[in-house]
C-alpha cells in the first residue's frame, strides 16, 4: 500500500474513532452522569431526612423519659382534659361545687356534642364535649360563688349562657346555666 493511502486510512480511522467516542460520550456517559446526579440528590435528601428523624427521635425519647418520670403531669393533665368522657366525674364536680357554695341543684341534663378536630391534617386528637344544662336555686351570693367556682374548676368548664330569674323579692334566685365541658378522644 502506498504511504499516501496509508495516511488516508489512518486519518479516516482516527476520525471514525473520535466520532465514535463523541457518540459514546453523548449516548452512554451523559445519561450515566445524569443518573449519578439524581442518585446524589437522593442521597443528600435521605441524609437530611435521617438527620431530622434522628433529632426528632432523640427529642421524643427524651420527652417520653421525662413524661414517664413525671406522673403528676399526666394526672394533672387528665384532670383538666380527661382522656375519656368521665361523665359521672363531671356530674360529681357540678354537684360538689353546689354543695360547697350553698346552692341547690334542681336539675341536670347532659347532651353529648359532636367531636371537633383541630385541623384535617393535624396529628392532634379530637376534642369531645358535653353540654350540661343545670338549674340551681340559691341566694345571689351563693349563685355568684357557684358560677365563679365552675369557671375556676380544674376540669375546664365554660358557661355558654346563664339565665337568672326570681330577683326583686326576698326569695332565692333560680339560675339556668348552660355549661360546656370537654374531654379528649
Amino acid at each position: 500500500m502506498r504511504p499516501a493511502t496509508k495516511r488516508l486510512f489512518s486519518i479516516l480511522a482516527s476520525s471514525g474513532l473520535l466520532i465514535g467516542t463523541i457518540i459514546f460520550f453523548s449516548s452512554a456517559v451523559m445519561p450515566e452522569y445524569k443518573n449519578i446526579q439524581q442518585l446524589r440528590g437522593e442521597k443528600k435528601s435521605l441524609d437530611a431526612v435521617v438527620g431530622e428523624e434522628d433529632r426528632l427521635i432523640n427529642t421524643a425519647s427524651q420527652l417520653l423519659n421525662e413524661y414517664q418520670n413525671a406522673a403528676n403531669l399526666r394526672d394533672n393533665l387528665s384532670l383538666v382534659l380527661p382522656r375519656e368522657e368521665a361523665l359521672p366525674g363531671m356530674i360529681n364536680q357540678i354537684q360538689g361545687i353546689a354543695r360547697s357554695t350553698g346552692v341547690t341543684i334542681e336539675g341536670i341534663n347532659v347532651e353529648n356534642l359532636p367531636l371537633t378536630h383541630s385541623e384535617k391534617s393535624s396529628i392532634v386528637e379530637p376534642v369531645g364535649s358535653f353540654k350540661a344544662t343545670v338549674r340551681i336555686r340559691g341566694s345571689y351570693e351563693a349563685s355568684r360563688s357557684y358560677v365563679q367556682s365552675l369557671e375556676t374548676n380544674v376540669r375546664i368548664i365554660d358557661v355558654d349562657s346563664m339565665a337568672i330569674s326570681g330577683g326583686g323579692g326576698a326569695g332565692p334566685l333560680t339560675t339556668n346555666l348552660v355549661l360546656r365541658t370537654y374531654y379528649q378522644r
Binding site: A13, D160, G167
Partner: protein, 165 residues
C-alpha cells in the same frame, strides 16, 4: 504504520476514547454503586430509627401532645361569665332592682329585666351603662310605668375582652 500528523491524530483519538471509556466505567460501576450502597444504608438507618420508639410510646406521645395542645386551645378561649355579676354590682343605681338577667356568652349579650323607682332613675341607670367601659352598646327594649315603678328591659352588648380571663 504512518508517521507524523496522522499518527499523532490516531494517538489522540485513542487517548480520548480510553479516557471517555474509563470515565464511563468509573461512573457506572464505581461511583453509582457507591451511591446505591450509601442510599441503602440511609434507608436501613431510617427503618432502625422508626423502630426505636415503639408503637405504644408513639401513641402515648401523640396523646400527650394532643392533651397539651387542646388544653392550651381551650384555656385561650375560656370565658368568665361571672364578670357579669361584677359589672352589675359596680354599675347599678341604688333605686334600681333586677328581676331577671339573661347572659348569652357567645353573643356577649346581657338582657336585664328590672325595675327603677322612676323614669329619672332609669335614665340615670342607662347613662351609667353607657359610661361603663365594659359595654359596647346598649338597647332599651321596653319600659313601662307599673304601680309607681318603671319596669324596663335592656340589652347590653359587652366588649369582646370583658368575658376573657
Amino acid at each position: 504504520m504512518p508517521s507524523g500528523v496522522p499518527q499523532r491524530f490516531l494517538a489522540f483519538s485513542v487517548l480520548v476514547f480510553i479516557l471517555v471509556a474509563l470515565g464511563y466505567l468509573g461512573l457506572a460501576y464505581g461511583y453509582a454503586s457507591f451511591l446505591h450502597s450509601q442510599i441503602a444504608d440511609g434507608k436501613a438507618k431510617l427503618d432502625e430509627l422508626g423502630r426505636r420508639i415503639s408503637a405504644d410510646d408513639q401513641k402515648e406521645l401523640t396523646r400527650l401532645y394532643s392533651q397539651i395542645s387542646n388544653t392550651q386551645k381551650l384555656l385561650s378561649s375560656h370565658v368568665l361569665a361571672s364578670r357579669a355579676f361584677t359589672f352589675l354590682e359596680a354599675n347599678t343605681a341604688r333605686e334600681v332592682t333586677y328581676i331577671g338577667a339573661d347572659l348569652s356568652v357567645p353573643d356577649r349579650r346581657l338582657t336585664l329585666d328590672g325595675a327603677a323607682a322612676s323614669y329619672d332613675e332609669l335614665v340615670r341607670q342607662l347613662a351609667s351603662y353607657k359610661r361603663a367601659p365594659e359595654v359596647e352598646r346598649i338597647n332599651l327594649e321596653s319600659s313601662e310605668a307599673v304601680g309607681g315603678a318603671v319596669r324596663f328591659k335592656v340589652n347590653l352588648i359587652f366588649k369582646p375582652a370583658i368575658l376573657k380571663p
